[in-house]
Amino acid sequence: MPHRAKLSIRGLEMVFRAEGKETAVLHDIDLDVREGELVCILGPSGCGKSTLLNIVGGFLTPTAGSVTIDGEPVGGPDPRRIFVFQERGVFPWLTVEGNIGFGLGRLPAAERRERIAHYVRLVGLTGFENSYPQELSGGMKQRVEVARALAVNPDMLYLDEPFGALDSITRLVMRSELLRIWDAEKKTILFVTHDIDESVQLADRVIVMSARPATIRRVVTIDLPHPRDLSSRRYLELRDGIFEEIGLAHRI
């Protein structure tokens, strides 16, 4: 694995100004992400981790600091780095095929069709090509969104609590699906979540954020091989470590 960072964040600060009030949301963020890594940004809701992801994605401009990808500063949204929202990001007026093919307008028709078919298969939605999102379950809608993101062959994927709207059983399924796809496509993934288990199950490294104004409390390297055994001692150690870091009790 190359040592030069794919994504490099230095001294990031974000202050929101609204109606005379200033809210500091992010403070002094320094982070490197290597190519092909799956990094989780973990923190409680509202702490600013989505803001961080939006800045990295080019949708927000930071108050201070720099974000560079492959050495270039991030100037705005870019199809090389696709953002995946929660299921509501899927376009309801397009079919599954229409959604997945959304970013492929510039390709010749035959190649486009092939790509769409490939990604329909990859995310396990064969047979639903002509269905509309309102006919699909939450998990299926999320697969559509991931397929749409992958179809344009981006370098990086940013996922903002993508499984948040799903029930916990579906979430488990989707996590292993994500890992399967990641293994097949080898993208660099930045994944925001508030779920400690999720972060330990998925990530190579977990960036634990503090509450607002968010700083990086700790970076935990998850040295477990895939597939991860969720009852292994090492998994529980790592997980409990993060629990303690955040200051949560072990009994309720």
Binding site: P77, D78, F85, G89, F91, P92, W93, Y132, Q134
Partner: protein
């Protein structure tokens, strides 16, 4: 509890029968000589059909609606899109809309006569005015209600502003726009009839007024009113069919 198709027909049929019966006997018992009974109205229908008047006047009214409404569509949707896109523009224009809206289109009749004389154009202008505002407002609100997420996705996939307008904004706003279009069509139909009662000499509205003035033919008056109702229902029904298309159905709460 799904409604059986049978129920959907039975109950309105019963209430319609009830209305007709009450009507018939009310006319009988009050021994009125002027107000028509259901049978007389039915005969009036036949008479109008035979004279070819019904079809001709209906076509006149529909033509006026089509022109005025079509114009309102062509101008209103782009205007609404623009206003929805630019919040500053919307804020400036909104008070103007709020001020002009409560003015009944018919109050514009004298102005329209000055501008166009007594002619088809005057009525078409009125219909245009009446339809324009609801279409603009519905389009504007449709655009403003689009979740930011869709527009962000559009930028993420490197769409040009024009492509974003066409491939994201318009489809996302379409359900709300269609509702506005349906309501505007209903308004247009109401206004054409009213305008024809005042400003021209053909059309279903004119038929209503003329049947009374030219001989107190209330049977024809009611026949004309029923025709107006039926065509209005047909127009509304067609618009609702459009709302059921799969690419817009997502935007409508299921009944």
């Amino acid at each position: 509890m799904k409604t059986r198709a049978f129920d959907r027909i039975l109950w309105p049929a019963l209430s319609t029968a009830l209305v007709l019966i009450v009507w018939h006997f009310a006319v009988r018992w009050t021994k009125t000589s002027v107000f028509p009974s259901p049978l007389e109205v039915a005969r009036g229908f036949v008479e109008l059909a035979r004279r070819g008047v019904l079809l001709r006047y209906a076509a006149d009214s529909l033509f006026r609606v089509g022109s005025g409404y079509g114009l309102a569509l062509a101008l209103g949707i782009p205007t609404g899109l623009l206003l929805g896109w630019s919040p500053a523009g919307a804020r400036a224009v909104n008070p103007v809309i709020q001020l002009l809206r409560p003015i009944s289109p018919l109050a514009w009749i004298p102005v329209s006569i000055v501008l166009f004389g007594i002619s088809n154009f005057a009525t078409i202008f009125l219909i245009f005015l009446a339809s324009f505002f609801p279409i603009v407002v519905a389009t504007m609100n449709g655009v403003r209600g689009i979740p930011a997420m869709y527009l962000r996705a559009g930028r993420n996939f490197d769409l040009s502003p024009v492509a974003r307008l066409w491939r994201v904004m318009l489809p996302a706003a379409l359900p709300q726009v269609l509702t506005g279009l349906r309501i505007a069509l209903g308004i247009a139909w109401l206004v054409v009839v009213a305008a024809e009662m005042i400003a021209v000499d053909s059309g279903l509205g004119y038929l209503v007024i003329d049947s009374r003035n030219a001989g107190k033919r209330y049977d024809l008056v009611v026949a004309a009113m029923i025709s107006i109702g039926l065509i209005g229902v047909a127009l509304n029904f067609s618009m609702r069919r459009v709302e059921r298309l799969r690419s817009v159905r997502w935007g409508f709460r299921s009944a």
